[in-house]
Subunit: 410 residues, 2 copies
């Protein structure tokens, strides 16, 4: 796409936001704040969001997830069944005549009655259903750009099992899928599997916590096995539940995912049962597994940036290549030709504007597209363009005639 | 995908719903009704929805549309600017402490202030922004499955122009894009460009109306030029505004899209202006263009079905091929091999279940996947499988060794 036509607005400064990800996402024109905790995704931000969505969809399908899309308006009676109409205090509630609705903050109350229509016998299990859908929560602590918002896209996966062993096995599979997602988003090295409160039905749940000064959680990382414990439960858990050691490093972190063995918690109120091999009716066991897409996008920025802007990992970069020309109309002509030749083959943002070289380079760093290609008088003298990865200091010269092969290899 | 693992629930009957599309979409397990006007999309329905989304995205991008994603929670003050907080009576309103929000029924109030941050000079125009996003409207007339719902995915495109001529030209381009969308969804032959009320700023708006007995609109089709007039304005428009003739055919129809010249209607309250070439500040002219994805899905079913079920057009079929085996374990083995060989290359739903041939064939007709492949004792005697298009009566035999070429050509 030509940058002259791209709908984006960059800013030199963003003083209101403290989190680095919020600063850069707003300054780079990826998102726009509509109100506290409410954001619009502008075209650049939308492109990143779609790439994150694609990664998550692929990894969920690899572990058998079937995708669907549940409604956001939930009749009150579904929430009364579990008692959460009264006990969850961050639900937005709506009236329409006599009827009341919850604006879905999560979807257990919807997916369980739906699964009940399908699950009758052990033969219908296991079952894995997921969606990527907008959740709404009254959020008094809204802050930090996309780190905590009132309206957010979330992937929620629900698993249904006949036995605890089957639930346990699948839970491990989801863990691995989550680590693959975080690896593809280039935050894995800073992301720790963290023991957290398990609620009524499980000893622990697990969070995936990514280290960042903007994080609102505190975790204790076991120096032996590299698993962590959330501060919430640290007092009750003096030793690492994984390896038993007790040397910890205290760090600030942001939760980028959580996985939870619900077991019978929601099957019970909805009487979600199945007929087992022995002919007995039993409650279905469940797990639930969440990732917030916007928060993940923010976490990627928290981990992958320098003082000049974001350094998007290749798989989630809004475009793969950012083509710049520097110099006179001659250089521009060569760049135009280059762009026209390759625009169908590769994802290229072409900065075709007449802005000064300084402005263009500064803006390219702020936008943070993974690979920067520069065509200038200096590079053309050697019949080359300069190729530089965002986070690297030095680029290298590549012969223009080799462009296709080199770009394709990246 | 293996049908034995697919999350779907078919029903023999659906008495509550009158519209054919609602009957078949519910019976085939594409959607599930959560409450009046509120539906969940099950995996099969979600697949169709994604394909419709893809077609719309492609056609919007062809006419320069840039995709973004706007918030659903709209602070009250945006809606007060245009007066619609009071005048639109189907807005869901939310309270959070002192603050009030509209649950976005449409997005003019959000996109105009956003565009204002970007548009300063004639050089920033024209601009075309679109999104595919969930809208919410209190809908007393909710009925007919996906034909009219309270919560619905909508594509809304907004265009911004310096001159009326430019708006007019783009408006024509959108018309053509809409017809391409309806052609790819195989409803074009029954879809009429229809003159409708233009509101304060334009003489007419245009709707795209698809003929169906389930339609809640009445249109008058000009027998000369095949454009139509909505009943709402028929009294004021005795002759066809397009060709001047006055022979009409009265038909029931459902609105599958609308396009509207807003001109200054929303630029004015938000003072969305630009500096023109002559240095003068002028109001930006706007157009808006909507398509409801769920309603389009329903319209596709209304147009493409027979008494046994839906006949999905190839581009929106949840899977391209439906593979069935009929007979003994030998036929099943051949079908298994066939499926394993081609599952990576083509979108195949493989009915691997042990159900009776009758059940499988009836269900295949109900699901309506475009191409049905049957492997039976009879076909195997000739080393063939049977290939049949859903809406055709007779299939033809294809040599199994030619399967790849033939499937690829479809």
């Amino acid at each position: 796409m030509r940058q002259s036509q791209l709908f984006f607005i960059t800013k030199r400064e963003e003083k209101k936001e403290k989190a680095i990800s919020a600063k850069f996402l707003i300054r780079g024109g990826f998102i726009e704040k509509l109100a506290s905790g409410i954001y619009n995704f502008l075209p650049l931000g939308f492109l990143v969001l779609k790439k994150i969505e694609k990664i998550i969809e692929e990894e969920m399908k690899k572990i058998g997830g079937q995708q669907l899309l549940l409604a956001a308006l939930h009749p009150k009676e579904f929430w009364e069944k579990t008692g959460r109409w009264e006990t969850m205090d961050d639900i937005y509630k709506l009236k329409e005549g006599e009827k009341e609705f919850a604006l879905g903050p999560t979807h257990e109350e919807i997916i369980v009655p739906l699964a009940k229509k399908f699950i009758h016998s052990f033969k219908d299990l296991p079952l894995y259903l997921f969606q990527i859908q907008t959740k709404f929560r009254k959020e008094m602590r809204a802050k930090g750009g996309l780190l905590r918002t009132k309206e957010f896209l979330m992937k929620d996966l629900y698993s249904f099992h006949a036995t605890e062993e089957d639930l346990d096995n699948y839970y491990e599979k989801v863990k691995q899928a989550y680590f693959r997602i975080f690896e593809r988003c280039q935050i894995k090295e800073k992301t720790y599997l963290t023991f957290a409160s398990g609620g009524t039905f499980s000893k622990y749940s697990h969070e995936f916590q990514t280290l960042t000064p903007a994080g609102e959680d505190t975790i204790f990382i076991c120096q032996n096995c590299k698993q962590a414990i959330n501060k919430e439960i640290k007092d009750q858990v003096p030793n690492c539940p994984n390896c038993g050691q007790n040397k910890f490093l205290k760090e600030k972190a942001i939760e980028v995912g959580n996985i939870f063995k619900l077991k019978e918690k929601f099957s019970f109120p909805f009487n979600l049962t199945f007929l087992d091999k022995d002919g007995k009716e039993k409650l279905v066991l469940m797990g639930c597994y969440g990732i917030g897409l916007g928060r993940l996008m923010a976490a990627i920025c928290e981990v992958n940036h320098d003082k000049n802007g974001i350094c998007w990992p290749a798989e989630v970069s809004p475009f793969k290549f950012h083509l710049l020309w520097i110099g006179s109309q001659n250089e521009k002509k060569v760049a135009e030709k280059f762009y026209e030749k390759f625009k169908q083959k590769f994802e290229i943002l072409f900065d075709d504007r007449e802005n000064s070289p300084g402005e263009k380079l500064v803006e390219a760093d702020l936008l943070g597209i993974t690979w920067r290609l520069v065509i200038s008088k200096k590079t053309l003298e050697k019949k080359c363009f300069e190729l530089k990865k965002r986070e690297e200091k030095e680029g290298k010269l590549i012969k223009i005639e080799k462009a296709f092969e080199v770009l394709k290899s990246l």
